[in-house]
Symmetry: C2
Subunit: 401 residues, 2 copies
C-alpha cells in the first residue's frame, strides 16, 4: 500500500471518465418542457417556413418595374385593387400598374415582387402614389427562406434554449426527442460529517458536498439522487453504494478526506468493477478516483468542497456531458490581463480561484478547503501542467463561474 498516489494527466483522466458511459436513450417530451434539455435527434423542417412569400412591412405589394424612376416629385401611380387580411391566402394575381395593401406578416400576392412601405406612399382614393422605386425582392421573405422543407434545422446534441425552442415551434414540433436525464447518486463519506441541520461538535463538519454536488448535477441536466452520509464503516458504505449502483446511471462519492477513506472507496469500487484512475495531476483535486462498478461510472471526489468543485468542473462535467449527449462542451471563458503573479508547480494542472477587479484578474489565494473563496471569487484560471506559473501582465482565460 503506497502512501502516494500514482497520478495521471487531466487529459487522460477526462478521456478515461468519458470512456465509461455514452448518451442515455431518448425520450419524447412536450415542447413546453424542453427548456434546458438536450436534443436526441436531428430535427428537420416539416414544411417550407414561411409557407408563402411574406411581407415584412405594412405597405403595398407591387411589381418593382412599375415603380422604376419614382420620386417625391414624380411618383408612380398605381391602382389599389385589394387588401390582404392576416391569416388569409394571398394567391390573387397582381396585374401591371396595380397594387395590393398587405400588412406585416401578410401574404404577398402572385405577380408582385416587392413591398413598398406605407411611409413612402400617399393614397388618393383608390390611387396610390409611390414616391420611391422598389427593387426586386424588397421587404419580402420568400417561401422557405427561413427553413426549407426537409432541411436539418437543429442537430442532435444541441442544448435547447428559448431560441432553439422558437425553431422547434416554427417547424411544428409539439413533442421533442431529448436525451433522458441521467440519475446520479450522491454519497458523502467521512466520520466527521453530520447532516446540515445539526450543530457540529468537536471536529465534526456539516455535509456540504451532497448539496453542492446535487446543485451541480441539476445545473448540468442530471437528476441527483441523495444517499446521505456514510461514516468510515466499510459495510455501511458498501450497502449504500450498491443501492445507488442498482438505481443510478452514475455515482459520485465525496470524501473521505483521509488516506484510509480513499482506499476504502477504491476497494469497494474494485469489489464490483475496477479503479481506472486513482490520483490526477490536478490541484486541487489530486486524490480523485475514476472507476466503474456494476458497469456504471463512479467518481470519487475529494472531501473538501473547494477541491470537489474543481473536480466536478474539470472531470465530472465532461463525463456528464457525454451521458446527456451534449455537443457543446466548452467552458465559458473570458480573456483578461493578470494583475498579479500566480506561482505553480510544473507537472500538474493548477486551478486557481480568481477575482476580476477593474478588468484585471487577481488570484484569490484561499487556504485549501475554504468555502468562502468559492463565493468570493469570479472563476478559475488554469495554469497548464507544463508551466511554473503565470506572470502579471499575461493574458489569461478566466473560466467564469
Amino acid at each position: 500500500m503506497s502512501l502516494f498516489l500514482t497520478t495521471v494527466s487531466v487529459e487522460d483522466a477526462v478521456r478515461t471518465a468519458q470512456s465509461l458511459a455514452g448518451p442515455l436513450p431518448p425520450e419524447e417530451i412536450p415542447l413546453s418542457s424542453v427548456s434546458g434539455r438536450i436534443l436526441a435527434a436531428d430535427i428537420r423542417a416539416d414544411i417550407d417556413i414561411p409557407g408563402f412569400n411574406r411581407s415584412s412591412v405594412d405597405g403595398y405589394a407591387v411589381r418593382s418595374r412599375d415603380t422604376a424612376g419614382a420620386s417625391e416629385s414624380l411618383p408612380a401611380l398605381l391602382r389599389l385593387t385589394g387588401r390582404v387580411a392576416m391569416g388569409e391566402a394571398g394567391y390573387r394575381n397582381l396585374l401591371p400598374d396595380n397594387c395590393f395593401y398587405v400588412p406585416t406578416g401578410g401574404a404577398v400576392p402572385e405577380g408582385a415582387d416587392a413591398m413598398v412601405m406605407v411611409e413612402y406612399t400617399e393614397s388618393i382614393g383608390e390611387d396610390i402614389l409611390v414616391k420611391k422605386p422598389a427593387a426586386h425582392g424588397d421587404n419580402i421573405v420568400l417561401q422557405g427562406e427561413d427553413f426549407k422543407a426537409g432541411s436539418v434545422i437543429l442537430l442532435a446534441g444541441t442544448l435547447l434554449s428559448p431560441r432553439e425552442i422558437a425553431a422547434l415551434a416554427a417547424t411544428g414540433k409539439t413533442t421533442v426527442p431529448v436525451v433522458t436525464r441521467p440519475r446520479v447518486g450522491v454519497i458523502s463519506t467521512g466520520n466527521e460529517l453530520i447532516p446540515v441541520g445539526d450543530v457540529p461538535r468537536g471536529n465534526q463538519v456539516r455535509d456540504i458536498n451532497s448539496w453542492m454536488c446535487g446543485a451541480f448535477l441539476k445545473e448540468k441536466g442530471c437528476i441527483p439522487e441523495y444517499y446521505g452520509i456514510t461514516g468510515d464503516d466499510r459495510a455501511h458504505l458498501r450497502g449504500v453504494l450498491h443501492k445507488a449502483l442498482s438505481f443510478c446511471d452514475a455515482v459520485l462519492i465525496s470524501g473521505g478526506s483521509s488516506k484510509d477513506d480513499r482506499d476504502m472507496t477504491a476497494d469497494l469500487i474494485r469489489e464490483s468493477g475496477e479503479v481506472l484512475v486513482h490520483g490526477i495531476a490536478l490541484a486541487p483535486g489530486k486524490p480523485t478516483i475514476i472507476g466503474r462498478a456494476n458497469g456504471i461510472p463512479v467518481i470519487g471526489l475529494p472531501g473538501h468542497p473547494a477541491s470537489a468543485f474543481v473536480v466536478l468542473l474539470v472531470i465530472a462535467r465532461p463525463l456528464l456531458y457525454r451521458m446527456t449527449g451534449q455537443n457543446d462542451q466548452e467552458l465559458l471563458t473570458r480573456s483578461l490581463v493578470l494583475g498579479e503573479n500566480i506561482p505553480s508547480t510544473r507537472g500538474r494542472e493548477d486551478y486557481v480561484r480568481v477575482c476580476i477587479r477593474e478588468g484585471k484578474v487577481y488570484p484569490e489565494f484561499g487556504k485549501s478547503g475554504l468555502v468562502n473563496t468559492l463565493i468570493r471569487s469570479d472563476g478559475l484560471v488554469k495554469v497548464p501542467s507544463g508551466m511554473e506559473g503565470l506572470e502579471e501582465g499575461d493574458i489569461v482565460e478566466v473560466i467564469l463561474w
Copy 2:
C-alpha cells in the same frame, strides 16, 4: 389615430418597465430545491466555520519552534504522542517536542501551531523525524477563518448556484428564504396564428412566441402560464387578458403584427389601467407596449419572434429581474473585434445578430422575422442610439446568447 408610434429611448423604457413591479414576497424552501433561485434575505453564519483549528494536510501537528532549523541532514526529532481520528474532538494538549498525527480535515490539538506534511517526515517507531522547518500557521485553517459566526455570508438578491449552496450547507441552512417565482401570463394574438401542431394553410403561421416566451421566462426564474392564441377578436382577447391578469404577476402579449392589432392590445390595457410606453427607439422591437392593467405589468411584444426575442432580452428581462429580486443584472458579454461594418440609424438602439468566427464578429443580416438567424448567430451587438454604425476593426461587446 396616428400611423406612427411616439418612441421613447431604451433607457426610459427599461426604467418605466422596472417601475411597474417590485420583488415578490419570500418563501422558505428546502436546500435541495434552491438551485437557480434568488435569495430573499441576507444569510449569516450560525457558528464559526470551521468550528476548530483544522488541518489541511495528512501529517503531524507540531509547535513550530520545535522544528526551527530542521533539514534533511539534521531533522528535528519529535515524540509521537497520539493520533487524532476524524470526527473526534482535538482538545488534547501538545507538549514541547511532541507531535500528534492528524489527518486532513482533523482537529489540530491545542498547543500546536503548525502542521507538517507527512511527506517531509520519517517515522522511526514512536519517533518522528521532521526534515523541514514549519512556520507558525502552516497548513492550518483557523477556527472561523472560513465564516465567522454572525457574519453575513450571502446577500439578498444572490442567484443560488452550486457554490452558494455549498455556503448555505456549511452554515446549517436546511431551508432557505427565496423570492417566490413570478407567474407570467403568455398570450399570442393574431388571426394568422395556428397551434404548433397544425399545418399552416394560406398565410397562416404557427404560434412560435408562446413557447419562446415560456422558455425565456423559465430561464429567468419565472413560471410561464400559457393562455394560448387569440385571434384579432377584441372580446376574446379581453376575456383572456382578464383571466391572465387575475392569476398572474405580469403578462406578456405578443403580436399582433399589424397596426390594428397593436392598437387593440393598447386599448385593452387602457380599459384596465394605462399604457405608459407605445413605441421604443429600438430595432428590432419598435412597436413594443409597456403598460399596467389591474395593477400588474403588461408588456406587448412584437409578433415576429426575432424581434420579440430582442424585446424579451432588453426590456422584459430587467422587469423580470426586478420581480425576482435578482441583484446581478449584467448581460454576459465578450469584447471582440468587428470583422465587417454594421450600418445603423442614429436615434435608435440597434441590436444586430452576430456570429463569432475565428475570434472576430460578423453581422448576421437576416431579413426581419427570420427565426433561423436566432439559432445561427452567437449573440447580439448593440449599436448605441447616438451612432450611425460600427466599423470594421472596432472593439464591440457581444451580448452572448
